[in-house]
Structures are given as C-alpha cells and as structure tokens.
Amino acid sequence: MGSTVLRAVLTQRVLLLVVLLVVVVGFFLNLSARNYLAAPFDGRYLGLALINLPPLVMLALAELLVITSGRGGIDLSVGAIVSLTGMVFGLAHGQWGWPLVPAVLLAAAFGALCGAVNGGLVAYLGFPPLITTLATYYAFSSLAIVITSQQPISTAPIQDLYVLARAVPVVGDVALPLSLLVFLLPTVVVVWLLLARTAWGRRVYAIGTNDVAAEWSGIDVRRTRFLAFTAAGLISGLVAVVTTAQFASARPDAGTAGNGLALPAITIAVLGGVAITGGIGRVSGVVLAALLVVWLNAGILLAVAGNTGTQLQLLALGAVLVAAALLNGLAVRRYGAVT
C-alpha cells in the first residue's frame, strides 16, 4: 500500500508536484501560524503572489509545445519575442492610438510571426532549435532595442492597462490579478485542449516521440513542428501584452532583462515534467510547477529578511530542479518509466 503510493508519487510528476505544493504551502502556513514570518502567509498573500504567474506559466506552456514536439525542440527566443512584440504592441496601442482589442490581436499575430520564423528555420530548413532560437534571440532583442531607439513607451493608454495587473476580489479577501483570469486561464485551457483533445496535439506527441515513425505514418511532420513554434510565438506575443500591462510601460528589455524570461520558462516546463527529449509533457504539470515556484519564492521573501531572501530564491530554484531530476532518475531506475 505505502509502496504503491510512493510509486505513484515518484512516477507521476503531477502527483509529485501536488505533494510538494502541499508541503511547501503547509510549511509556510505553519511558520505563519507560529508568527515566524514577517507577514502572514495567507490566502490574500498567496493570491497577490500570483501576479507573476501569467507570464511564467504562459511562456512555460510555449516551451511545453516546442519541447514536446521533439528533435531537441526548445525556444530560447521567447523572451526576445516578448520584448519585440511588446514594443510593437506599445507602438500600436500607445502611440498610433489603436484600440485595445485590435492591438492585442496585432500582438498575437506578430508574436506568431516571430514564432513562424523560428518554426520555418527549424521545421522546413532543418536547423537545430537551440541554435536557431539563440540566433533569433539575438536578432529579436536587437530589433526590440532598435525599433524605438531603446525608449520605453509609457503613454496614457499603456498606463491605463495596469488594471490588467490589478487584483480583482474572488473569495473573501483573496484577490487574483485580472491578467490571470483574462490571459492565463484562456491560454491554459486552449493549450490543454490543443494537446489533449485535437488531432494536432496527437501529432505533436507523435513527432516528439518518433520523428521518422510519424513521417511514415503519414503525418506532416514539418507542418506540425512549424505550428508548434508558431503557437509558442503567439503565446509569447500575448505575454508581451501581459508584461506591458504589469509594468505600465512597453520596455524593449521586458523579456530579456536580467536572465531573461526564456530560462525560467524552460525551468518551469522541465520541473512540470516535460521531457527534454520530446513526446512527454502535460499542461497540468506545468501549471503546478509554476505555482510551486511562485509560492515557494513568496514564502522565502517573508521568511528570510534582507538581501539573503532574494538570494535564496535562486538557490531554491536550482535545488528544486536538481531534486526533481534526481527523483526522476530514481523512479526510472526503480520503476522503469515516468510520465
């Protein structure tokens, strides 16, 4: 009995994440109840911390699509697409006076275009994804800087977008950021439907599992892979709107400042059980992994005062990732396979 549970937790990433999530949240709630934290770790705070969730999860879903499509699929350029599309969106909505909805559609279309460049190079010309998206990362982030000579756009219409980042009350004093409801939830649902319910989703898993067998099964491998990259670009385009709203300004380095958004997105995807070799990965795992990281970070900030707190966040991320990989290795050795 105990060993069945252990086996389930070790071999099913989603279960493992749920357990970890419960442990982490429980741990901080406990600390909070004993007054060890600088402020209560409560529903309200958990809700507030979710402001970071939409970009993280959305880009991790973009990576899910691309990584699952296999053959070394990965997209290092998502952050650069966010930067570049953010500037395009900023120009349209903030300077040319486009209304919000057309501007958002433009952002989605432009992001998809950037993704299609990656997809074209990878799927039709056969470039390795790591190198291709490294190259377009340089190109897109450079264009994002050039497009307005490195000036951020923060006109009134852009500043008004901040309502999207604002929390709306849900239950009691728990409030969730509007962007979570307006952008994240629909994206999660759509990506889940795409992967789990459509023929295209089946094709993505098929080409990710075995490129050659997919070709021999009559699947249009190149088109499927091309669309995976394009969809990742589209999602990145939507993230550009979210970050622009969150910072009340379209910044040319929105997705590339610091470590950029791509590495965290890949980290979340992998933590969520996406196999870097392709063919394996679920939306639920990615969402849970992002929740785990966001709430762990939020808890650390309350538990450890001063600079040490922010420094520990990075370390914790590395540790969680190594631990997840170790558990995976253990499970594979002990039980054969992992999903």
Partner: protein, 327 residues
Amino acid sequence: GTGSGGSAPAGDGGASGSSGGGGGDVPSVAFVPKLQGVPYFEAMNTGGQAACEEIGCEWLYQGPVEADAAAQSDVVRSFVQQGVDALVVAPNDPDSISPLLQQAADAGIAVATSDTDAPDSVREVFVEQASTEGIGEGLTDALMEAMGGSGKYAIVSCGETAQNLNAWIEVQRSYTAEAYPDAEIVDVVYAGEDQARATQLATDLMNANPDLTGLVGECTSSAPGVAQAVRDAGRIGEVSTVGLGTPQAMLPYLEDGSSSAAILWDVEALGYLTAYAGTQLAAGEGFDDLSAVTDTYPDVTYDDATKTLLLGPPLRITADNAGDYDY
C-alpha cells in the same frame, strides 16, 4: 497601526527578528534599492540603520539580485504584504513602480522615493541627493577642469529609463553648450547597472572616436567602468574621466589618474535622510520642521511645490579626500 495588512496580526518580535506591521511601537520603514550588493546602496543601508537607531524606527532593507523592474516589484509587493508603515523605493523603472506605489498607498502605507524619483506616482516625498543642476553642473565643471575647457567627450549612462540620470544628462548638455562652447558631447550610451558592460562601451567609444578626450560615468557602476577602460587602453592623461562613483570604489582610479574626480554626495547621509523621511511620513507629519536633521546635516532643505527633500550640494571627491569615506 496604519497597515491593513491581512486579517492576522503581524508577528511581533518573531524569531526572524524583523517584525513588520503596524503592531510595533516604533514605525517600520522599508527601503527597496535598485539592486542589492552595490556599495552605493549598501552605504545607504548603513545610513538608514544609523538613523533608525537614533530617531527610533525599524529599518527594513531588501533589494533584488537583478536591477530589473520585475525583480524589484516582487520585493515591493512582499513589503506591502508585511504592512510596513512607510515604504521608500529607488525605482529601476519609474513607470513600472507607479502602480505598485498606488497599491501600497491604497493599503494605507506611506510611500516615498529616494535616489531616483517616480514623478508621476503617488509618492508623498522624493528624497533627493542633490539638485539636478548641482550634479549636472558639478560633473561638467570637474570634467572641463581636467580637459582644459574644450574637446569632445561622451557619456556612459546606466539604466535607459532612470529618470534622475536622464535629467542630469540634460543639464550636462545645456550647461556644456552654454558655459563651454569649445566642448562637445559626441555620444550617450547605456550600460545598465553593469560595470563590465560600461568598461566595454567606454572602450568601444574610445576606439570609435580617437579624438575623444573625456568620458563621464553617469552612475556608480559606470564611473569605475569608464576609468577602467582608460586604464586598460593605457591612455591615462590622454582621456580624462569623471563620474558618479563611491569613494572607495573610485580610490584606485583617482590615485593613478584614470579618474580625475568623482561627484557624489554623502551616501550614508542620504540613507539617513531616507529613514527620517519615512519615519515622518509614517507618523503622519510633514517636513515643515527640519530641525531634527539639520543638526546633523545642515544643508537639508524641503521644497513643498515639488515635494522634494534635498540633501544639499554635491561633493567633489578626489584622490585627497576619498579615503575619508569608508564605503
């Protein structure tokens, strides 16, 4: 307490030793720098701690590991949750911080900016290190002294969107044109808060403009950066540099002449003033009576129109007086 921070009372004197919240008997003042670890902000931290011991406040200091608007807003949000009494921010991106300051104010927290302003925000006061004119003109005068009042020079600035840096650069432009007609600014480049990048850009500028004779490092990471570049290129004496640098960081460059002067202010004093401003705001008091600080820092003034608390005129740091400061 003024905080509306959650249903449960915030921890008083918990094991973490940093009780936030409005439950304590002294007001808590939180300061969020642009970036942790740089000597400049750590010196502000020292000044702030000293102030709180003196005037009775609880000083909280936490900075992001990246000079990045997103990383900074996480820290700000955590302080809002902690329900501190006063929150002072040196914003990386004023546009991005404004809505967050609004949220803090909505939560009943007194908000202020220090070092860098967010003019369009709801901040109740901006703690300014020196007047924009004072710094811009001080930098220009110091450089012109070294360059003999003429020649081409370039500026290596830091954050593209840092409002204070951009304002100083504007002053440098107009003041140079007006007071030194034989001098010319050929370029302004942005290195972020990254010393290596500043060195790189300064080297590139010297290579690209062989007749360049002056460089300005506009912030505490680019001031040593440009001096480093001149030193690396072996062009000490040919290219003069000045910058906004902290004394200890600049000392070696000042000594070997790769930097002629650093323009700065007493950074610990700025930290002190920041803690003071936070405490005043937390107590719901204004800045009509400055006697509490003018004993220690006599040049402090308050301008009600711009809601700016000014530390005083800038310092010029040279090889002679740099050793007097231990940051």
